[in-house]
């Protein structure tokens, strides 16, 4: 049997935000693309997300936020990953963000940001091209 690592990704909802329909749809799309998807559920702190990502040995964390606190929460996840020596885990984000915020997020290490209008196919293709099993 060919020894191929399976891509493991985490879909997480940081902060006080109860809207996880989007995150669930993304999780489903990842599953259909053949990834193993760990879903954390709602109301996670960046610390909880990072700890879970390390225990689950994922290759990527997809953060979803629709509550406006992305400018703190997303970079904080990247920061903690680096502190824990897990800076090689790719972090991307999804939600409704102003253009300036997207620039800022990308500067702080969020690899890619997806906004309304991004198709599932586009997102999955991006992951397949940019995230490799660690």
């Amino acid at each position: 049997m060919e020894r191929k690592r399976k891509l493991r990704v985490m879909v997480a909802k940081p902060g006080l935000d109860g809207h996880d329909r989007g995150a669930r749809i993304i999780a489903r799309a990842y599953r259909d693309a053949g990834f193993e998807v760990v879903y954390t559920g709602l109301h996670q702190t960046p610390e909880e997300i990072v700890e879970a990502a390390i225990q689950e040995d994922v290759d990527m964390i997809g953060l979803s936020s629709l509550a406006g606190a992305h400018k703190y929460l997303f970079p904080r996840v990247v920061e903690l990953l680096t502190e824990r020596g897990a800076g090689d885990i790719v972090v991307c984000g999804g939600g409704i963000f102003p253009d300036d915020d997207i620039k800022m997020l990308k500067k702080t290490g969020i690899k890619e940001v997806f906004t309304p209008g991004s198709s599932l196919k586009e997102i999955v293709t991006w992951v397949e091209e940019n995230v490799k099993p660690r």
């Binding site: 493991r8 990842y30 599953r31 193993e36 879903y39 559920g41 879970a52 225990q55 040995d57």
Partner: protein
Amino acid sequence: MAKKVIAGDVRNVARLIRDIDDGMPGVREVLKELYPYTGKAKVIGITGAPGVGKSTLVDQMIAHIRERNKTVGVLAVDPTSPFSGGAILGDRVRMQRHSMDEGVFIRSMATRGHFGGLTQSTRSAIDVLDAMGKDYILVETVGVGQDEVDVVKSAHTTIIVVMPGMGDDIQALKAGILEVGDIFVINKADLDGTDKTMNHLRLMINMDQHKYEEGGWRPPILKAQAVFDKGVIELLKEIDRHGKFLKETWGDLHFRKRKDKVREELAEMVKARLVEEVIDKLNENGAFNEAVDSIVEGKMDPYTACDSLVLPKLGLSIG
């Protein structure tokens, strides 16, 4: 790597379990080094139909075990999609509150389509958490297939979770899984039909009356409402009692070191390893794909193809 795992290093433990899952070469060497450090943990299997509340129950069990100042490792197994090969591993959602607790390690695993079998990789993952020093290891599976039954069979104590109003499902479970239950939990016991389910289970357990008269373990049936943390302390007490029973009956908790267990597990390991090696070899020289093609093209029947793939490898002639 083995040293770091024994020292309890989370990143290395996480990576090793991934290596086991991905069937990476080199894993066996690490497992060999870890084996002498295993055998200390109490392994508890939790199984039942989807939606009965296994994850929630596990979450509460973690909390109570932590109150005893014991550490916990959790393996939560969810099914892999047979179509895409992907999986959504959502058991963690119910247990996330423990993620910052250093005494708790939670890992989601997908059933995949292992050649080695889910049983094999889960057993190895149990060994890893054991060597890492976890006092309790909780293994949660959806109790539907033989693989899942085998997984919980490697536990010291197996808990079957059911809920009221699933009459026919209990019937369906009867065949394989009810026999392996050491403790039964009727979760969501505030729902209608709890007593009926209780009677159902009791009737089934009583059918094995002769076993108990010969000193066998009579599985208790507990009512619980995991969401409200009801019945969970009682469950832990029953687990303790079962542990004591095992100790009195078998001498110690090293249940997996019993001869029949060891024989069974070793046989399974040999089987898995053989299949893996043979398939590897067949893929290497393309024989497997050639056989597939010739069946598709109608040149060969699958029975002959199978013979021609397997028999020469065993030094036997075809026909």
